[in-house]
């Protein structure tokens, strides 16, 4: 089955992670122009080293979490007419709730929830002009079942999922739909480090028997962006190999 895409331009928020770069490659192969956000020179360099020179197949754009000026510049320029928005951006703060630093907690939610709401407002308004748009949030199975120390990460993911769900409910009548994907263990980036530190133990809880690889997650995101998946709106989809369904 060949996936079809009505849109041609995508903004990838958190464009420097392995999954985002893998997704950008798939997009370019499907005639979708990805704009990948980065927050520092190192991130931009990483994107360019992975995707090659910015020669008209993709673009990078500066966006720093919590920095409203960079957000306004982005949506006044490179992201003014996006059809798709894919969100990988997520900071980590692993602490027991009873051990967390108050200022860190405040800063974490400000960057990972409140600022995300600002980004979503801009993205949704941009799409509303043309009455079409699709937003995919790459959440985590931690939103359904968090390990010890993941309380803040899970809380930010759950809060963000609700923002996406609300957009799908509120703007669905205007052609703008949303979905959140909850991958389980993925063997890339932060997930690789976690699995490396803990050995095979976490995977014993996964009926699927292994971690996901980045390509299968990116392909699933592509399906969720496709015209065929538009009916999947204002909801969350688990992609964890069955992990959260067992005792």
């Amino acid at each position: 089955m060949q996936l079809e895409f009505a849109g041609r331009r995508a903004l990838i928020f958190g464009g420097t992670c392995d999954l985002a770069i893998c997704l950008a490659e798939l997009m370019m192969g499907s005639a979708i122009f990805p704009v990948l956000t980065y927050r520092d020179d190192e991130g931009r360099k990483l994107i360019r080293e992975s995707l090659g020179p910015e020669d008209g197949r993709y673009q990078t754009a500066f966006l720093k979490k919590g920095e409203r000026a960079s957000l306004e510049r982005l949506f006044a320029g490179d992201a003014a007419n996006i059809d798709y928005f894919v969100d990988f951006a997520q900071g980590d703060y692993e602490r027991f709730v009873a051990a967390a630093d108050e200022d860190e907690v405040d800063s974490y939610f400000s960057e990972n929830t409140a600022f995300r709401a600002e980004v979503l407002k801009m993205a949704a308004r941009s799409m509303l002009k043309r009455k079409k748009g699709r937003l995919v949030f790459v959440s985590s199975s931690a939103a359904a079942r968090a390990n010890k120390g993941q309380g803040f990460y899970a809380a930010a993911k759950l809060a963000s999922e609700q923002l996406y769900k609300s957009i799908g409910i509120e703007l669905g009548p205007r052609g703008i739909t949303t979905v959140s994907l909850r991958p389980g263990y993925v063997d890339c980036g932060r997930g690789s480090r976690f699995l490396h530190d803990r050995g095979d133990e976490p995977l014993k809880k996964v009926p699927f028997g292994r971690a996901l690889d980045k390509l299968e997650v990116a392909k699933t995101v592509m399906f969720l962006l496709s015209d065929a998946a538009r009916g999947i709106n204002a909801t969350e989809i688990l992609m964890d190999g069955g992990m959260t369904q067992v005792k």
Binding site: R125, L128, K129, E170, L171, P173, R174
Partner: protein, 130 residues
């Protein structure tokens, strides 16, 4: 109404015509958006986006659509403040006469009129030009 307001009214009228099922209803500066035209929250959001794009001005939805009007009126009463002065501080694009109308009218339903949108656009446009 001065020529600048007439032009703004015409453009807003076109925007509303594209968004709402007007069913032959005429739009004047005195038309209530919610009471007369049946505009819903999503219609007003769409109007905000159209105004932002069409007039190149920043639109604060809470302010232009008077979403917090009742809260402000309660706040003024709670603080023993003069309601009209309080609202003038919150809605600098509305003239004193319009604010007096709003205070007198608010018990009858949503007070937002097309002329309030026009005032906001002109006010924001002037602010941007300065």
């Amino acid at each position: 109404m001065n020529p600048k307001n007439n032009n703004t009214l015409e453009r807003v009228r076109v925007m509303l015509g594209e968004m709402l099922d007007l069913d032959g209803k005429e739009i004047t500066a005195e038309t209530y958006l919610i009471r007369d035209l049946g505009a819903e929250s999503i219609d007003l959001l769409e109007l905000a986006v159209a105004i932002n794009q069409g007039f190149s001005i920043k639109v604060q939805d809470d302010q232009v659509f008077l979403w917090r009007l009742r809260f402000y009126m309660l706040d003024a009463a709670k603080n023993n403040a003069d309601v009209q002065s309080y609202l003038a501080g919150k809605y600098p694009f509305l003239d004193p006469g319009r604010i007096a109308e709003i205070v007198a009218d608010h018990d009858s339903g949503p007070v937002l009129k097309v002329k309030d949108i026009i005032s906001y656009i002109n006010y924001q446009g002037s602010a941007a030009a300065n």
